[in-house]
């Protein structure tokens, strides 16, 4: 009896599939009305939809911060290379200055940009947790075919209500899935 009680309240992840962003956005609204928080909803799609389109909270990406840090590292590396190494290994050519500024800009520019680019790429991987290290994550392969998959975590006690509401807004399929959001 106690186990049954637990089962009714233990949340599970389900997925509802939609063909268009409009019903998917309505589904998000419906789930919110039922009491499912935004953090318990995840949307997967085959194209990038702005959060405004799907009625999702607007969040800023942290990737530019990675880029900035990378650019900083690249900048400092270029300074160390350009000014540090000739000081350690002086190469005197025809009375030319060891530390000429115009050529320094070339190296500074290239390494700063390299740092920015590489760090932005790494930023995407870190922030998106790609590739996954442990555990199975929820996914529906129809996303590749253009479906919009709305994943939501709901206790069994609310499931029938949620299913009915989602079918009303046009969900083509609602089924349980294994795995976690992240």
């Amino acid at each position: 009896m106690y186990g049954g009680y637990q089962g009714r309240y233990e949340p599970k992840i389900y997925v509802a599939l939609f063909d268009d962003p409009e019903p998917a956005a309505r589904a998000v609204e419906v789930l919110r009305e039922i009491g499912i928080e935004d953090r318990l909803i995840q949307i997967q799609s085959g194209v990038p939809w702005k959060p405004e389109v799907l009625g999702r909270p607007i969040k800023a990406s942290a990737v530019p911060k990675y880029g900035l840090v990378g650019a900083g590292v690249g900048f400092l590396t270029s300074i160390a290379l350009y000014f540090g190494t000739p000081a350690l290994y002086p190469l005197r050519v025809g009375g030319l200055p060891l530390f000429a500024m115009p050529p320094a800009f070339v190296l500074i520019f290239e390494l700063t940009m390299l740092g920015l680019i590489v760090a932005s790429f790494l930023g995407v991987l870190f922030e998106s947790l790609l590739p996954p290290v442990v555990g199975k994550r929820v996914y529906h392969p129809e996303v590749s075919d253009g479906a919009i998959a709305v994943f939501f975590q709901v206790p069994a006690i609310l499931l029938d209500r949620v299913k009915e509401a989602l079918q009303q807004v046009g969900a083509s399929e609602i089924e349980p899935v294994e795995g976690s959001f992240v």
Binding site: Q42, V47, S61, V63, G67, I117, F121, G123, S144
Partner: protein
């Protein structure tokens, strides 16, 4: 989104015409587009296998074989002799760096400006950038002669007391090309991840394993898209100045030298315009090959795309002509004795056939052909234009590199460059290497960015204005 039912019945004829013309109006389900792209990738027919085997073999013999022969025998095999120390290797190096501007220009610049027509062929162009840079990167190694000494360029404390001289443009080249290669490869890879995930979901066997690794577990969540699209924006903005810097620095390899015919303040923009010209021309040729040799590509790559590439080519050709004439007329007006001799040598001397070939291929033919919309829309015409312009651009580099070195201040120091068979073989080998790598990649990665095309489908709709119907674009990016 493009439903004909919302438009009056009498406009259906116009709608059909628009669909035939514009890819982004001609909506097909994502599932079907996925199938079309995968079918094209998996079509490894006998003809394709023979073509790849032939290209691979030719590359091994003409490029790697000749290079090995050159290394084992010595640089004396090359035609470079005093005073012409730079020959076909440097010409080819500059040429391939130029081709590498294709991807960045077509993809990054058009992405920044949200030019919708770019969508189906950005990846085909980006792939060219990566492979062209790989080809270009071989030449400094080949030109070294003793290639195995390459690590002397790497700055690390060593007993040789040798250190890269950061004041040398050759070292700038090293940094600029590596930055561009890494940047453009990542820029190719990032937008590819969602399409690799699609391929993962649809493939079986070794392909599934390969795409599972390459797609990094992509699922298309909001988080993933948010970070990916932000990074693509950053890349598009960052790669443009890097692209400009690469060919500017290549031009400085020449311009910083106190060499008449090279020491010019206009060489940076002149080289960049030339690089973009050859890059766009090459995109036209490659798109034709992709369209005619791969299944289902006539749906994705249409006359409208060749038309816009043709317009771009014409405009860039005009830009190149402007810089070319600017460079030419100022040197001609200067009246400096040796410069006058260089100009005579270019226009009436032994190298004149190459110089005139450059003028005809880069100015006369494009201007005569590309003003005409009907010709621009013919894929085979754009294929030929691509080849012609690139012959012209190769000739331009040949004239600049070897022509200017042939004439110096005192006639004692004049010379004539005759490329050797080994040099010609190696230069030819990089063309087959490029085609080989491109041909292999076309069967391994989705050449069409399906998600970007679908995004374009969502953004486009038809709108009735007065008595007609016109395409309309929503800003969904």
């Amino acid at each position: 989104m493009h439903s004909k039912t919302t438009l009056p019945a009498e406009l259906h004829g116009q709608v059909e015409e628009l669909r035939k013309e514009h890819l982004l109006i001609d909506v097909r389900p994502r599932e079907e587009m996925n199938r079309m792209v995968l079918e094209a990738m998996e079509d490894t027919s006998r003809e394709w296998k023979w073509a790849m085997a032939f290209l691979g073999l030719v590359t091994v013999v003409t490029l790697f074989g000749a290079w090995a022969y050159l290394m084992s025998t010595g640089m004396g095999l090359a035609g470079i002799r005093r005073p012409i120390f730079w020959g076909l290797f440097i010409v080819s190096f500059v040429f391939w760096i130029g081709i590498s501007h294709a991807g960045t220009f077509v993809s990054a610049i058009l992405r920044v400006f949200k030019a919708e027509f770019r969508r189906p062929f950005t990846r085909a162009a980006e792939l060219m950038t990566t492979f062209a840079l790989m080809g270009a990167g071989l030449y400094p190694l080949i030109h070294l002669g003793r290639t195995w000494r390459f690590y002397w360029m790497v700055p690390y404390p060593n007993q040789r007391w040798l250190w890269p001289n950061f004041r040398s443009p050759l070292v700038w080249d090293f940094f600029a090309i590596n930055t561009y290669l890494i940047g453009s490869t990542l820029y190719l890879y990032l937008p590819l991840i969602p399409d690799l995930a699609m391929a993962r979901d649809k493939s079986t066997g070794w392909r599934k394993k390969l795409y599972t690794i390459l797609s990094l577990g992509w699922r298309g969540t909001e988080e993933e898209w948010r970070h990916l699209t932000k990074a693509i924006q950053i890349f598009a903005w960052a790669i443009i100045p890097v692209m400009f810097s690469v060919h500017t620095i290549v031009s400085w390899d020449f311009a910083v030298a106190m060499k008449l015919g090279w020491h010019s303040t206009i060489f940076g923009p002149y080289f960049i315009t030339g690089a973009i010209l050859s890059g766009i021309a090459a995109v036209g040729s490659v798109l034709y090959l992709v369209r005619t040799t791969m299944k289902n590509m006539t749906y994705f790559i249409r006359p409208e795309h060749f038309d816009t590439l043709g317009k771009l080519l014409l405009i860039i050709s005009m830009g190149w002509t402007y810089f070319f004439f600017n460079e030419f007329i100022l040197e001609w007006y200067g009246g400096e004795h040796t410069v006058k001799e260089i100009i005579r040598f270019y226009t009436r001397g032994d190298i004149a056939p190459v110089w005139w070939l450059m003028v005809i291929c880069n100015i006369f033919i494009p201007w005569a052909v590309l003003w005409n919309r009907n010709w621009r829309r013919k894929p085979w015409v754009m294929f030929l234009m691509g080849l012609i312009v690139n012959v012209g651009m190769y000739a331009e580099r040949y004239v600049i590199v070897t022509g200017a070195l042939s004439r110096n201040r005192i006639p004692f120091d004049w010379g004539w460059y005759q490329p050797s068979l080994v040099e010609i073989s190696i230069a030819f080998g990089t063309f087959t290497l490029f085609l080989f790598m491109y041909g292999m990649a076309s069967r391994l990665i989705p050449l069409i960015p399906v998600w970007e095309v679908e995004e374009g489908h969502h953004a486009h709709s038809l709108r009735k204005v007065g008595k007609t119907v016109v395409p309309s674009v929503a800003d969904l990016e």
